[in-house]
């Protein structure tokens, strides 16, 4: 198994009621599988159909292979400036 730290910001944090979850997946799992796991959390049905995530501070595609200890942040549409 691998453990990843999931971070939720802004509207996503409010939807899930938490800013951080530690989730476990089988070794070799990809970001797409983590997204499915996140979607199974309580309240997650309010998340949008498309989710953007950053793995270890870089925006990542759904086929990115995860490693133990990765930090995966779910990034709502950005509005800085």
């Amino acid at each position: 198994m691998l453990r990843v730290k999931c971070l939720f910001f802004a509207a996503y944090r409010e939807i899930l009621g938490t800013e951080e979850l530690e989730l476990r997946l089988p070794r070799g799992s990809r970001l797409a599988e983590l997204v499915e796991l996140v979607r199974s959390q309580p309240g997650a049905e309010a998340l949008p159909a498309s989710l953007v995530a950053a793995v270890n501070y870089e925006y990542a595609l759904a086929d990115t292979v995860l490693a133990d200890g990765d930090e995966v942040a779910f990034i709502p549409p950005v509005a800085g400036g």
């Binding site: 910001f9 802004a10 953007v52 501070y57 990542a60 990034i75 709502p76 950005v78 509005a79 400036g81």
Partner: protein, 145 residues
């Protein structure tokens, strides 16, 4: 180069001073300021939230890329987080260059990319007491990972 996400008020003059050297003939400063309205609705203030560690890295990437793309000497960026009142500076970008054309272009490039790519979110507090996260720009991850 200087890129920070900060909870402290931004001193625009200090940001400008960080970039100028004796070889520079032009400094362009962009300051984003909290407006008293948005889409016609009166705004009392804003709350900015950032994914701090990643935001600082993304800003650094953006500035490094602008430094190599344009003939500029130095770039400094500070983005505020937390609660801001109308009139407060949310972001300051200073660019110094030997010539003005490059300074304007780099300044523009940094603010446009910041708005599209840096993980920062904005919650508006309206005068009528309501609050809402602002509709933002959807990130497009790189085509290959």
């Amino acid at each position: 180069m200087y890129c920070v996400i900060t909870a402290e008020p931004i001193d625009a003059l200090e940001i400008m001073r960080r970039v100028r050297s004796d070889a520079d003939g032009a400094v362009v400063l962009f300051a984003g300021v909290v407006r008293d309205h948005d889409a016609g609705r009166p705004v009392a203030g804003l709350r900015y939230e950032a994914y701090g560690a990643m935001a600082a890295r993304k800003l650094t990437d953006i500035c490094q890329s602008a430094l190599s793309q344009f003939e500029v000497s130095d770039i400094a960026v500070a983005h505020r987080v937390g609660d801001l009142a109308v009139g407060e500076i949310s972001v300051a970008i200073a660019v110094a260059a030997p010539h003005r054309d490059a300074a304007y272009q780099a300044s523009r490039e940094v603010i446009e990319r910041l708005k599209r790519e840096v993980p920062i979110w904005k919650r508006e507090r309206y005068v009528d007491g309501e609050e809402a996260w602002l509709e933002g720009t959807v990130i497009h991850p790189p085509e290959s990972s």
